[in-house]
């Protein structure tokens, strides 16, 4: 298809042609085009349907503020909704489709909404879909969701990749327009580390769109020369296609770089990178955005911002029409007329709302002063405009200029409020800027090119000065410095037809007036009630007009009415970019135990414990379900010997002259008296007296202890120990370092454990019961000299050891232990069998030490020493926590031994009603005991220690179960502990 609306000039590469598709029709464009400019060049004005009324809409702007031209880009799983055609760089094979219509774009079935518009005014959701209540979920919401809204997701996994990163600089310059380029150049020449980011793919900002001259050369030549100098300096990082979307604390900025979006094939590289930029200082040179004027039927395709029409003509060599009228309330709009005429496009009329002579002399131009456009005729385009003086003028496009709004957004991200400038009729950045930020150029209300350049240089110089870097002032290029007059003219009162303020959300002047009448007078309420300023454009072109109309209605000034707060992101950031590469199995790190490989090779099934993957059981041939494996493993450990990787338990190396005294303070019980070569169980309390963690600590030397923590609390116990060491007892000589990952540690449990270990531990180490009794520890060597640590401790209740070797030998050690254990029919066991055995012994884990229970509750009240200072000892003595009838940890078994117990069940006395008032406690842990042949449980019940043999009810309303259970000792197996000491 011919590019029928392509005109001369422009910053496009006509030597190359790019083919692309829009709504399955092929078009052609050139490198340098955006999708929007290429569509315009091809005469395709209609690009989408509006949000609510499904009105035909066309390209309205030339940048990220675009409210209308939102398309689905690419296809299949790659499809991205709500992509702004004005920001999409054209590439070969690009495929875009319009959104928000049922049927074709030309004949949208939902355009019928437009006829129902009287019913769809502001707040129509709240008014229309109230009754009957039940209809909301089943009828109204699904209909609204399918009819309204913007683009649609592909509903497939996003096949693109994303990444994140971190950058550092002395000066971040946001925006590569004239003031941004000048700021970057000034800082770069001074040797500062500079990042220059701009959302456009071409630096230059408005200079690319205007016909302005600088220092005797064209604006675009100056941009090219400046950009080339910056690119040649290694202290500068130029970041085109990068939107700085948020200003965060202490000079941190969020930026989204679109790396491969402009390529037909991204080559498997991340599509976008989300950068965290640490800047010492920043210059915001984000430019300004032109705003429209609201008048009747001002939303038709072909009606565009005057600055955008200029951009398309000058930069992209494309025009929305052959006869383009200009409607302006300020001098700047006249530039569009001048530039169009220079490009050979006819300008039938310039309508200026001000009753004054033309600011530029355009020979032969028809100038209508002091009037306005009040209506347009056409459907999928403009055929004519009607002026307030009744004249009807045939046109095929209309350029509208309502003045410029400085892009103050990032100045407000830390709740700074912009201030109103009457001369500009616009908000400019207030005094309360984010730390380290300065604003330059039109973003700061310096609207002429000369002022923008000067301010860019001045702000960069001042920012560097604050960093102790001296920048040399250089002569600024000569540039235009004519102040342009703006007028406070927001909407055409005479318009009888609907006049759009917010094109993206279909909010009209009438909607705003209605909201005010109905009492939604605060700007924040107005926004939510009318939806003005919501969605992808966040009201970049509409907010100020909306505020102005509200102010008018309330008889106040715009600054009195105030603005809504700007929050990050400046433009939309895909969720995929926020996720970065943290997807699927890479969502978070995983930790493997040293014997993971062996476990995989030997039928293990794994369970996630924090970041760890632990073997939960090892399935053997013929076993039909997990219980078969777990029962066998638990029985093996009780009758012969079982081996379990317990590396995940936290290990903290504690050394120092005061190590023992330190442990006395952090544990409820005493450790300074522990003999070298011995291990002790330790209970740690929180300062409020609640149990925190438990484990064993071994004294390896006079000044050397090795503490173990639970797997779950390894990190937080270490943190608390450091707190105690640095903040509470800073003069203790004690040093902490984690060795969790350094030692592969295995529990070897069962009556044959010693026999097995004798085959592995080198013979010069005596591990007989006499030489190495229960709770002994020491250094040994294994397999011919490999250093190891041996602990005679038992979680299973059997005669048991834990043996630790340097982690690099862990996998091999697991294999050796199992090989050596063959003659005893040894078996590896996983976390499930470990759990079964600890419940059989009444040992606590996180289920019991759940942050609500005390030493008194778990039957270890006497362990809390009152003879020495320790964390938690004072508040543990609070009367409520030491009540005689407090819950106590005991065992439970079902009266009907065939029944399965349920963890979380609450205990009730025999005939008591099932309510909280009669609650007696709760079941914490349950398991099937293969040793006893029935289910067993642990739990807390009031005065449990005095109620042995009593029958109570275990009720779980969640499961709908109730059964009788008998209170028994928590030590189901070997209550006297003879096996441990064997």
């Amino acid at each position: 298809m011919r590019q029928k609306s392509r005109i001369k000039g422009g910053l496009i590469d006509r030597s190359k042609e790019i083919k692309f598709r829009f709504n399955n029709k092929w078009f052609r464009g050139h490198p340098g085009d955006t999708l929007a400019s290429a569509l315009l060049a091809n005469g395709q004005l209609l690009v989408g349907r509006s949000f609510k009324y499904h009105r035909p809409r066309g390209v309205f702007t030339d940048g990220s503020e675009e409210p209308n031209a939102l398309v689905h880009l690419r296809d299949g799983a790659y499809q991205e909704p709500n992509t702004r055609a004005t920001m999409v760089e054209l590439f070969d094979g690009l495929n875009a489709t319009s959104q928000n219509h049922r049927g074709s774009l030309d004949y949208d079935l939902l355009a019928v909404n437009d006829f129902f518009s009287p019913f769809l005014s502001a707040g129509f959701y709240y008014k229309t879909f109230m009754w009957p209540k039940a209809f909301w979920e089943k009828l109204y919401e699904p209909i609204i969701r399918s009819a309204a809204g913007l683009g649609r997701l592909s509903m497939k996994d996003d096949p693109d990749t994303y990444d994140k990163g971190f950058l550092h600089c002395d000066l971040l310059v946001i925006g590569a327009g004239p003031s941004g380029l000048m700021a970057a150049l000034t800082a770069a020449r001074a040797g500062a580390r500079v990042i220059l980011a701009d959302e456009d793919f071409r630096p230059g900002g408005r200079l690319n769109s205007e016909t302005l001259e600088l220092g005797g050369m064209s604006g675009t030549d100056w941009v090219a020369q400046t950009a080339a100098e910056l690119a040649s300096m290694d202290n500068v990082r130029l970041m085109p296609r990068t939107t700085v979307y948020g200003a965060y604390d202490h000079g941190i900025y969020g930026a989204l770089e679109r790396c491969t979006d402009h390529l037909a094939d991204g080559g498997g590289k991340p599509r976008q990178v989300l950068w965290r930029i640490y800047s010492r200082r920043a210059v915001l040179a984000a430019g300004a955005t032109e705003r429209p004027i609201a008048f009747g039927n001002n939303d038709r395709p072909g009606i565009m911002l005057a600055s955008a029409v200029r951009s398309y003509a000058n930069r992209y060599a494309a025009t929305p029409g052959k006869h383009i009228a200009v409607f302006t309330n300020n001098d700047d709009g006249w530039r569009t007329a001048a530039d169009l005429i220079a490009k050979g496009v006819e300008v039938p009329v310039v309508v200026d709302s001000r009753d004054k002579p033309a600011p530029i002399d355009l020979p032969g131009i028809r100038h209508v002063a002091g009037e306005a456009v009040m209506n347009t005729i056409g459907r999928k385009g403009v055929k004519s405009i009607t002026l307030t003086n009744g004249q009807v003028i045939p046109v095929d496009a209309l350029a509208v200029s309502g003045g410029w709004n400085p892009n103050v957004h990032l100045t407000c991200h830390q709740r700074g409020r912009p201030t109103w400038r009457d001369d500009l009729c616009a908000f400019v950045p207030g005094g309360d800027l984010p730390v380290g930020m300065a604003v330059a150029g039109s973003a700061n209300g310096s609207m002429t090119l000369a002022a923008a350049l000067a301010e860019g240089q001045a702000q960069a110089t001042a920012q560097l000065d604050a960093l102790g870097i001296t920048a040399k002032a250089t002569d600024l290029p000569q540039a235009e410095d004519e102040p342009r007059e703006a007028a406070a003219f927001w909407h055409v009162n005479e318009s009888k037809h609907r006049a759009w303020v917010d094109l993206q959300n279909d909010v009209t002047v009438k909607d705003i007036k209605l909201a005010n009448t109905e009492g939604f007078r605060s700007v924040e309420l107005l926004k939510r009630y009318t939806t003005m300023g919501m969605a992808t454009d966040q009201g970049k072109t509409s907010n100020i007009a909306g505020l102005a109309i509200l102010a008018e209605e309330r008889g106040k000034t715009i600054p009195e009415v105030g603005t809504t707060i700007f929050r990050p992101p400046y433009t939309p950031v895909p969720i995929g970019a926020l996720a970065g590469r943290a997807r699927g199995k890479d969502f978070r790190p995983y930790r493997l135990t040293p014997s993971h490989k062996w476990a995989e090779e030997n039928g293990a099934s794994f369970v996630t414990v924090g970041n760890w993957l632990r073997a939960e059981w090892y399935t053997r041939p013929g076993e039909k379900g997990w219980r078969d494996s777990v029962d066998r493993e638990a029985l093996t450990a009780r009758t012969s010997v079982g081996i379990c990787d317990v590396t995940t338990l936290g290990k903290i190396d504690i050394q120092g002259k005061d190590a023992g005294a330190f442990l006395d303070k952090v544990y409820a019980n005493t450790f300074s008296t522990l003999k070298v070569g011995r291990v002790r169980y330790g209970l740690m309390l929180r300062e409020d007296g609640i149990c925190y963690d438990d484990g064993t600590t071994a004294r390896m030397g006079e000044n050397h202890y090795v503490m173990t923590t639970t797997t779950a609390n390894a990190v937080t116990v270490f943190r608390r120990l450091e707190f105690a060491r640095q903040c509470l007892w800073p003069d203790m000589d004690v040093h902490l370092i984690s060795t969790t990952d350094g030692w592969a540690q295995f529990a070897v449990a069962g009556p044959k454990s010693r026999d097995l270990l004798r085959k592995v531990i080198d013979a010069d180490h005596d591990i007989s019961n006499e030489a190495f009794p229960f709770m002994a520890c020491g250094h040994v060597t294994v397999c011919g000299g490999t250093p190891a640590r041996l602990f005679r401790i038992s979680f299973s209740g059997e005669m048991a050891y834990e043996i630790a070797v340097p982690a690099r030998y862990g996998n091999s050690m697991m294999a050796v232990l199992n090989e050596a254990g063959k003659e005893f029919d040894a078996a590896p066991y996983g976390t499930e069998a470990l759990g079964v055995m600890r419940i059989e012994k009444g040992h606590c884990t996180g289920n019991e030490l759940n942050g609500q229970t005390t030493a008194h509750n778990i039957g270890l009240g006497k362990m809390v020493s009152q003879k020495k200072e320790c964390i938690g000892q004072v508040l543990a003595q609070r009367p409520e926590l030491t009540r005689e009838d407090a819950v106590r940890l005991v065992g439970f078994r079902p009266v009907d031994r065939d029944r399965k117990l349920i963890a979380g069940s609450h205990f009730l006395n025999k005939h008591a009603p099932a309510d909280m008032e009669h609650d007696q406690g709760w079941m914490t842990s349950v398991a099937y005991s293969p040793n006893l042949g029935h289910h067993i449980g642990l739990g807390f019940i009031k005065s449990g220690h005095e109620r042995m043999g009593e029958i109570v009810r275990a009720v779980s309303p969640v499961h709908g179960t109730e059964m009788e259970v008998e209170i028994v000792s928590a030590h189901f197996v070997d209550p006297e502990g003879e096996r441990l000491r064997g």
Binding site: T161, D163, K164, G165, F166, L167, H168, R193, P270, R276, Y278, R581, A582, D586, R588, P589, Y590, R591, L592, T593, P594, N611, W612, T647, D653, Q655, G656, K657, N703, M732, D733, V734, H735, I737, T739, T740, D741, G742, W743, R758, K759, V760, I761, D762, V782, C783, G784, G785, T786, P787, V805, P806, A807, R808, Y809, S812, M813, V816, E819, A820
Partner: protein, 188 residues
């Protein structure tokens, strides 16, 4: 009784891959011993370290190369790492003997897993995961920092103009390698 022998299998053993001119590999036999300075006896400990390694312990955030290619890294006021090459699992007693009881030592060899990243892409790749400023003015040769990369604690050391040694927990070696490798792939 040595009927059984143990095989050493550090998690990233033998990993070595090129990404253009940039190389990522797991150094063999990297030994790490932490050294804690006893409270009140710091001077004696520093002196012992100085004579044991023929180098003075630098300030926190820095490292120096000492005798026998031992890199001394100061992690905090009272903590340092000695990093050297040693195949046998006796790094801690080795250092303890050198220091002769003047400081507390703990074997950290198997706690960590190391990757050496060397080449023109090294810094560009690290930009994707490392929040620390690695510009030579801010992070010169010898600089050391503990930080977080992809949720993993990492000790990063600059060992050359384009060379870095990264240490992270050995149990999460797979995730660690993935993090660094992905960064390289993404910038190659």
């Amino acid at each position: 009784m040595a009927d059984f022998t143990l095989t050493s299998e550090p998690p990233l053993k033998g990993f070595d891959q090129g990404f253009g001119d940039t190389r990522l590999h797991a150094p063999a036999d990297l030994a790490i011993v932490s050294i804690a300075l006893p409270l009140g006896d710091e001077d004696a400990a520093l002196k012992a370290i100085g004579s044991a390694f023929d180098a003075d312990l630098p300030a926190p955030g820095l490292s120096v190369m000492g005798k026998d290619n031992t890199r001394l890294v100061r992690l905090g006021p009272d903590q340092a790492f000695a990093i050297f090459t040693r195949a046998t699992p006796d790094a801690e007693p080795h250092v303890q003997t050198l220091l002769n009881g003047a400081a507390y030592t703990t074997d950290q060899t198997d706690v960590w897993t190391g990757l050496v990243l060397d080449g023109p892409l090294a810094r560009t790749a690290l930009e994707r995961i490392c929040p620390i400023d690695l510009h030579p003015d801010a992070f010169a040769e010898g600089a050391a920092a503990r930080t977080v990369m992809e949720h993993l604690g990492v000790l990063i050391l600059r060992t050359g103009p384009d060379a870095y040694l990264l240490l992270s927990a050995s149990s999460s070696a797979g995730s660690f390698l993935h993090a660094v490798e992905t960064s390289l792939l993404n910038v190659t």
